[in-house]
Assembly symmetry: C2
Homo-oligomer: 223 residues x 2
């Protein structure tokens, strides 16, 4: 394991009101000039690949830290740390989502005040993470084309809490008969103001546009 | 909506011990000569397609009923009912998994005693459903190739509670750089006795072998 990666255990906070903890965390991060992105998706949609591609595009202009949530392994943090950024693996011990207290613990472990941008990779799950405000400045979800264009209909809460949807593996639309228009209509139905980017972590398509958008958000937030 | 499809609302049982309810349900289904399959997977892995393909192969020799769990929509039950089988959509109202009490309610709604085989499509989620015994005779999970070959490492509980893993979208291994051997090693590490089938609901590959296996299990259980 490299010097820039470590593991912490995180536990659910059952005593405090999560919304209150999240709100306080968001105010603190605004003061610290640290922009927190909460990245959510199904297992295998491409969260870690998106983190790596984002770091590659913004790592020279912004100081970036990565918090990786995982139930039981360290593979994601190790993969991400290979890019040179600091990564902390938050092991949830079977837990299905992150709450704002777990995220606060993760931010302390990484030393959030030292970073312009922190990317938080949530647990791979389209249900539970949507119910818990993490204190992030934006919620971003990755939907991969092989999952199908009907997902907004089936996981409406997740799509309604997102500020951005990254449509990953966009190069496989034809193979999986993915109707891009139908998908966007489904998203707009539950979340009219959501921003969409078509990306492919494999071919590189669309990643510059997403990274540029994110850089602008970080700049506005941290100034 | 056709005559063979209906919707019920299901609620979590917070009072009774789920393991006890599940054990009683399993005993009852054995007596009823009804084989219950609990089908679990990530969103978009191909659960509904697998149900449809299975019904097409076994619908003439077995009487089949389908219970579809979904957070908020009816699309899966309607899609499945088009094959002619009876389907009940169990709406969980945002809940992330099924417990044995919800399944008992679903089985009452469909009239389980009238069926040789009932396929239960659980909520699309690799975390929470693995923690709750549904009373099924077997647990089957669908892992789709685009999700990646590292999933057993990251969702060990799900892979450890499965009797069968169906590797769906097997025709896309090359495109997604999916190492079939590495995946199987990962599965075997947490679950040495698991049965694996390579399938593609798109091309039809491997589905006869899976259906034959299932038919044998139903025959043994119901005799």
């Amino acid at each position: 394991m490299g010097d820039n990666v470590r593991l912490i255990e995180v536990k659910e906070n059952v005593l405090d009101d999560n919304d209150k903890v999240a709100k306080e965390l968001r105010a603190r991060l605004k003061q610290e000039k640290t922009f927190l992105v909460n990245l959510m998706a199904s297992p295998g949609a491409g969260k870690t690949s998106t983190v790596i591609q984002t770091v590659r595009r913004l790592g020279e202009t912004l100081s970036i830290g990565v918090l990786e949530a995982d139930i039981d392994s360290m593979v994601d943090a190790e993969k991400v740390a290979e890019t040179g950024v600091t990564a902390v693996q938050m092991r949830t011990g079977g837990f299905c989502h992150l709450d704002a207290t777990m995220v606060t613990d993760g931010l302390s472990a990484i030393g959030s005040e030292n970073f312009d941008l922190i990317i938080l990779e949530n647990v791979g799950n389209l249900v539970c993470p949507a119910e818990f405000d993490t204190g992030s400045a934006v919620n971003v979800m990755v939907l991969s084309v092989p999952e199908g264009d009907d997902k907004p209909l089936k996981y409406p809460l997740m799509f309604s809490v997102c500020d951005v949807v990254l449509i990953n593996k966009i190069d496989t639309c034809e193979l999986f008969d993915f109707d891009r228009k139908r998908f966007e209509e489904g998203v707009r139905k539950v979340n009219p103001n959501c921003t969409l980017f078509d990306i492919s972590c494999r071919t590189g398509e669309g990643l510059d546009a997403w990274a540029d958008w994110l850089k602008e958000q970080v700049k506005t937030h941290n100034n």
